[in-house]
């Protein structure tokens, strides 16, 4: 123990590359953009360098709050679905006997995502459409008479998001399950605990860190999603990501877009800080 404490300073070096990299290539660029939020939109879409806090006032206008809450709801549902579907899968993979099989299954999970995102989403349109796979099958089997409206609904958006975010839940959970010492499990077995007890009292708690990381890697980026609501939702229900993107592109209102981003990021940061204070062990 003494040895480690003395070398505490050297250990700081390990984080240095990442800090330097992020300071230069992340913090500075992002500050450039976010600085625009304190100025006015130019008449033709540029920036008028006149200081103003109007953009922040506009953020709290009714419609953007409404869209933000809708976005949070979609993200929460997506995260829960990813946990419910993803955890058992991660568990399954980590309990396979051979490491070759485990690696193979890992690759199989990630392989679909090495195809093109747009084409994958088009495939979903073929599956969910009124003239699509599901409806045609159900009608041919005589189960329904009229096609179910699946495409361009909130349902389609959730399915699309679940599909595209699942690996980001499965893989971190797998990473933390994998390192659970098999001997602990064996020992508990020897001591008479049944499988369910072992799972809930030993395995699950040890995998919580992975679960938290999975939640983080699914929930946060879900908030910024914009392609899936456009393609699978028929653009009928924009998420906050769509609004932000629009400000930088079609509305040419970089100042307002930046203000939106600052507010959203601030809210997320506050949530993270609260989370860290509550779950000290699983802090980010």
């Amino acid at each position: 123990m003494l040895r480690i404490k003395r070398k505490g300073n050297i250990n700081g070096l390990y984080v240095l590359p990442s800090i330097i990299w992020l300071m230069i290539l992340f913090v500075i660029p992002v500050i450039f953009i976010l600085a625009f939020s304190f100025f006015e939109r130019g008449t033709y879409g540029g920036v008028n360098y006149i200081f103003s806090l109007e953009n922040f006032k506009l953020v709290f206008d009714g419609i953007y709050i409404k869209i933000f809450f809708k976005t949070v709801l979609i993200a929460i549902i997506n995260t829960i679905l990813c946990i419910l579907l993803g955890y058992p899968l991660a568990y399954y993979i980590s309990t396979r006997k051979s490491i070759k099989v485990k690696n193979l299954l890992l690759m199989l999970i990630i392989l679909p995502f090495w195809t093109n995102f747009l084409i994958r989403t088009f495939s979903w349109m073929i599956i969910l459409g009124n003239e699509g796979l599901i409806n045609t099958s159900l009608i041919n089997l005589g189960i329904i008479n009229e096609p179910l409206e699946l495409l361009f609904t909130p349902f389609a958006v959730q399915i699309g998001m679940l599909y595209n975010y699942l690996p980001f839940m499965v893989l971190p959970i797998y990473a933390s399950l994998e390192k659970i010492d098999k001997n602990i499990v064996l020992a508990s077995n020897d001591l008479g605990a049944n499988n369910i007890k072992i799972f809930f009292n030993i395995i699950f708690p040890l995998s919580i860190k992975g679960l938290f990381v999975g939640v983080f890697l699914v929930f946060i980026p879900s908030l910024g999603e914009f392609i899936i609501p456009d393609l699978l939702g028929g653009a009928k229900s924009p998420m906050i990501g769509n609004i932000i993107k629009d400000q930088f592109l079609t509305s040419r209102n970089w100042p307002f877009g930046s203000a939106l981003v600052i507010v959203v990021m601030a809210l997320i940061l506050i949530t993270i800080i609260i989370n860290n204070k509550t779950f000290k062990r699983n802090s980010f």
């Binding site: 939109r41 130019g42 008449t43 033709y44 879409g45 540029g46 419609i63 953007y64 409404k66 869209i67 809708k70 690696n103 088009f122 349109m125 073929i126 459409g129 009124n130 003239e131 699509g132 409206e149 495409l151 361009f152 456009d230 393609l231 028929g234 653009a235 009928k236 229900s237 924009p238 769509n242 609004i243 629009d246 400000q247 930088f248 592109l249 079609t250 509305s251 040419r252 209102n253 307002f256």
Partner: protein, 347 residues
């Protein structure tokens, strides 16, 4: 696993080296074009390169707005861009375009006078018209038997759930504004408010807002009636002959794409040379025959397929042109349009 990584590392090292060794040395024989996909015919660039020994680097963007954002943020190196009318307007006002030296483009005389002195470039200094189209309506006639060629069709309750609209803050508002008798460039608060109400009501019967995938939807029968652009719709008409396309008689929004040169383009002369090349009647007509966007090039018309020339949806009827306008930038009212569009979508 480690094996795989090792194999990948070796493969990629080779491709990394070969990839970055490809850049040509000489700078004078280069032209950097930035364009939508598929706008020129498949061989246009290749023939140009062969004939004039100039290497063309062809990069792609997917929307006017992405082009603008990228150039505004400072991206340089592009010699030739193809913005749409309102975008040219915006770029001129923000001083982002070079004045073109028309002494290098003698073929400019081939352009019809109908397409000169347009509102966004009244002195013809910054742009050379390339192709034009209009916003119209595509209909699947196997599902929709009788209809009038009017914007009303997009508001028809009988086709609830079978209609798609363009997902565009300006073009998407065109049907409502024209139906109410307003200008598509209106800045009047009341008019815009009324248009908003109309579109909120319409949302109930709209299946999707889409600027590109509506063609896939038309083809598979997911929607029967779709707002779209001329050249785009014709792509899918080839694969589903039941689909017809028309420009409503009330008039529409015209859209013209022009060739422009961004400020500080490294190969300005070569760009002007290329523009002149494109304006040759044979070359320009080839592009029209392929993309099915109408050409502003009068002299090229004798090489354009007769079917295309006679198609009123492509080479627009005079009456429709009279009733139509170009989209123009509305300055600060853009914020209001954005708010309205957000409200409609978020409902």
């Amino acid at each position: 696993m480690k094996r795989i990584l090792q194999i990948l590392a070796i493969i990629s090292l080779f491709s990394f080296i070969s990839c970055n060794g490809n850049k040509s040395k000489s700078d004078d024989n280069k032209l950097n074009v930035y364009n939508w996909d598929g706008i020129v015919a498949p061989n246009t660039i290749k023939y140009f390169e062969k004939e004039h020994n100039i290497r063309v680097i062809y990069d792609l963007y997917a929307s006017n707005e992405e082009l603008l954002a990228k150039l505004q943020a400072g991206a340089k190196g592009y010699d030739l861009i193809f913005p749409s009318d309102y975008m040219i307007d915006i770029m001129i006002k923000q001083n982002m375009l070079e004045k073109i030296d028309f002494n290098n483009i003698p073929n400019y005389k081939n352009i019809s006078s109908n397409f000169k002195n347009l509102p966004f470039d009244p002195e013809n200094e910054y742009s050379v018209p390339f192709e034009y189209s209009a916003v119209g309506i595509a209909v699947d006639t196997s599902k929709v038997k009788e209809f009038t060629k009017s914007w009303e069709l997009l508001f028809d309750d009988r086709y609830k759930g079978k209609i798609s609209m363009l997902d565009d803050i300006r073009y998407g508002m065109v049907p409502a504004l024209i139906k109410l008798g307003y200008s598509i460039n209106t800045t009047d608060n009341n008019e815009l408010e009324k248009a908003k109400e109309l579109m909120l009501k319409q949302k109930n019967i709209v299946r999707a807002y889409s600027s590109e995938t509506y063609r896939d939807l038309l083809k598979s029968g997911e929607v029967w009636i779709a707002q779209g652009f001329t050249g785009d719709v014709y792509q899918v008409m080839r694969e589903n002959p039941n689909i017809v396309y028309f420009i409503p008689f009330e008039g529409s929004a015209l859209a013209i794409e022009s060739m422009c040169i961004p400020k500080d383009a490294p190969h300005k002369y070569t760009a002007e040379f290329f523009i002149n090349y494109i304006l040759q009647p044979k070359i320009h007509s080839e592009i029209t025959n392929y993309s099915l966007y109408a050409s502003p090039n009068e002299v090229a018309q004798k090489y354009i397929d007769t079917i295309i020339l006679n198609d009123k949806a492509i080479f627009l009827d005079d009456m429709i042109i009279k009733n139509s306008q170009y989209i123009q930038d509305v300055g600060e009212t853009t914020i209001l349009y954005d708010k309205i569009w957000t409200t409609i979508k978020a409902d």
